[in-house]
Amino acid sequence: MRLTRTAALALATALTAGPALADLNFPSLSYRTGPYASGGVPFADGYADYFTLLNERDGGIGGEKAVVTECETAYDTTRGVECYEQLRGGQPLVLQPMSTGITYQLIPRMTEDKLPLLTVGYGRTSAADGATFPWVFNFPATYWDGASVAIKYLLDESGGSLEGKKIALVYHNSAYGKEPIRTLEKLSEKYGFTLTTIPVDSPGQEQKSQWLQIRRERPDFVLMWGWGVMNSVAVSEAASIGFPMDHFIGIWWSGAEPDVLPAGAGADGYKALAFTGVGDHYKFYDDLRQYVTDAGKGAGDGSSVGTVQYNRGIFAAMLAAESAKKAQALAGHANITPEEMRDGMEALSLDAAALEALGMTGFSPEIAVTCQNHRSAGKGMMTQWNAAEKKWVVLTDFIEPDNDVIWPLVEEDAAAFRAESGTVQRECPAG
């Protein structure tokens, strides 16, 4: 009994403690533990460091300090829900769960609570239909864009035709990994390649049988939708069966340093999509070093600075911060509410000049969000791993996806969601 009473007391105190309401609240649903920590730690560090940079250099956003409180999800849906229930009381301006499973939990909850949700390069693809999902944003690109960009790249590589080619998809057997299948099926009809789908059960440490199948069927190209330990195992397995690595393409979540380093020289030539630039030579890194990492204010130990996932964290934080600036301009005051933040996200527009001002030219694609389109342009680029120099190299410019294939699919899936949940599309201004 005494134990339960102390427990209740401790819980009650824990619940009342929250960030001061005057600050801009950007909670981070991070995962620094569990099987997916290799991607979660650098992302969370980048996310926190960018807000630290804004606080140190600019005194916050529009004069208001940005506060990042972390909640550990371990990529686990139950913990993610628990974190959300805890964070929602503090009126978070935007949540970025970094997990497709948690995203599906949060979409109905945050729509009900009127809090904006931003999923950068993951989550529910059909949330791109802003008229159906007013509170959910998935710019700059979705999985279906990724699938389309990869196929477009392969078209270029194969001299403009994929007729009769065999493409295999190795995917994480979860909502995340299944996302691109429908798009790839459509694209296979359009371009005449045959598609084989090969699931890998989470977390994906054991893939011998999948790669045996690939060895037997000899597909021309292998695409991969993997995450965490599954990536490095797949790259090692591909290297060990002697699959040509430059015919093996991962989605952006399968293209970071921890995914390829374990395979050593065998991973050389492995390709992956990306929606952010790689490396730490961009102009904003000068300020980041001066104000954050060299000043000893970094969230992590500094070892991940400049890696792929760290850059993604920076990028995700930049999108949130720029949306907040936009929202402040629209609202006319600095202390914005989540609803004003949503309007800011919907009006977010980053052109070449804006990116130049941020020091992010070439790092970030141009972004233009509208009421109808919550995913912006959906562009991605191809990167390749250089094992000798231990770094990723950008191969292409930003490639545009096949919008005439993707957008009808988005509308179809959004319509299915409306029928299922009994919601209606809101009116969007034309244009």
Binding site: A7, A14, V41, C71, E85, G101, Q105, P108, S174
Partner: protein, 358 residues
């Protein structure tokens, strides 16, 4: 002195055979139920409902279910996650096929569907025992999850494998979906839990429960005195699966609202419920509650104390939490192998004598 049964006289058979024969227990039970139904709904907020109490109530139902099978009938099962998935997908198919069906019936019918599936997977228990049966039920876990992941019909052709629970109401109050109030969700699950727990308590005190326990203690002797192993084992599988199916249905419809089978009902779930039952106490309904509380509430409590109270970094807190929970499990199993329910029994013995220990 504090806890006593002396002077508690019964003058009728009915009084002697009631669920809680000791007055102190009975009053404590009434007070607890009254607080849970009449007080908690008015003070509950979203966090307490969605993150703390709902999982506790739902896992308690699952733990009672597995306790019937493993604790009372002695059949080890590692198929809990698969059976919960049957309950969840059964509820989903019923909700989408019959939109007018009340959610109460959906949950109960999902339980019956799971009971049928459980009986089918219980058949091997007639031939194999112990570890071998555990492996057979493990097969059911993997088969069922694979089935729901593989066949699009079960998820109404959802592209991602996610199933979503539509909004359903009880007495005009939404209990599923994001718009449901915390109190409505909580009361709905609590009512089902209390009803099922009373059923379980009384089943285990009656003829059926005694036949389960006879099979558990020595199946050959039980058969010789006339207990049919077929009926006892299959009925244990049926009742247990019914409870687990109801838990799975509530887990999907009320608690999460959207699940994906590999994520929500993996082998992890089977072990989690088995740990609840072992730590709480095999063969005890109270133990099921204590075990569920230990496994569900303790990590949340530790997290809130370490991150919210002490301000530790989240990753350190998560690692310490794993350490502490694991250590406590070991300590409990070494110090008290019969689980938390046995600790309560010992406490009662001590309280009977207190303050005169001799």
């Amino acid at each position: 002195m504090l806890y006593r049964e002396a002077g508690d006289f019964k003058t009728s058979y009915a009084a002697d055979e009631q669920t809680f024969p000791i007055r102190f227990d009975r009053n404590a039970f009434y007070v607890l139920v009254a607080v849970a139904f009449l007080l908690v709904p008015f003070v509950i907020n979203n966090y307490w409902s969605n993150a703390v109490l709902l999982p506790f109530l739902i896992w308690s139902i699952a733990a009672i279910g597995l306790n019937i099978l493993t604790g009372y009938c002695g059949q080890v099962s590692l198929g809990t996650g698969g059976f919960m998935a049957v309950g969840a997908f059964g509820a989903f198919k019923l909700m989408t096929a019959f939109p007018d069906l009340n959610i109460v019936f959906v949950v109960v019918l999902a339980g019956f569907i799971t009971a049928l599936v459980g009986m089918a997977f219980g058949l091997p228990s007639l031939r194999i025992k112990g570890f071998y049966l555990a492996v057979a039920t493990l097969a059911s876990q993997f088969f069922l999850v694979w089935l729901f992941n593989k066949v699009p019909w079960f998820m109404n052709n959802s592209a991602t494998g996610h199933i979503n629970a539509p909004v359903r109401t009880v007495f005009g109050q939404a209990v599923t979906g994001a718009a449901a109030t915390p109190a409505a969700k909580y009361l709905f699950c609590l009512a089902i839990l209390v009803a099922l727990a009373l059923v379980a308590k009384n089943l285990t005190r009656g003829r059926i429960g005694r036949s389960w326990m006879a099979i558990r203690d020595m199946d050959i002797a039980a058969e010789i005195i006339g207990v049919s192993p077929l009926r006892a084992k299959i009925s244990a599988f049926a009742v247990s699966s019914f409870f687990i199916g109801v838990a799975g249905a509530l887990y999907f419809t009320v608690y999460f609202g959207a699940v994906e089978v590999t994520d929500a009902f993996g082998i992890r779930v089977s072990f989690l419920v088995l740990f609840m039952v072992i730590i709480g106490g095999l063969g005890s309904i109270l133990g099921s509650f204590l075990g569920a509380g230990f496994m569900v509430l303790l990590p949340i409590l530790l997290k809130n104390v370490m991150v919210g109270g002490l301000g530790w970094p989240t990753d350190l807190a998560a690692h310490v939490e794993l350490l502490v929970v694991g250590l406590l499990i070991m300590v409990f199993l070494i110090v008290e192998p019969h689980g938390l329910a046995q600790l309560w029994r010992l406490t009662k013995e001590k309280l009977r004598l207190w303050p005169f220990p001799h």
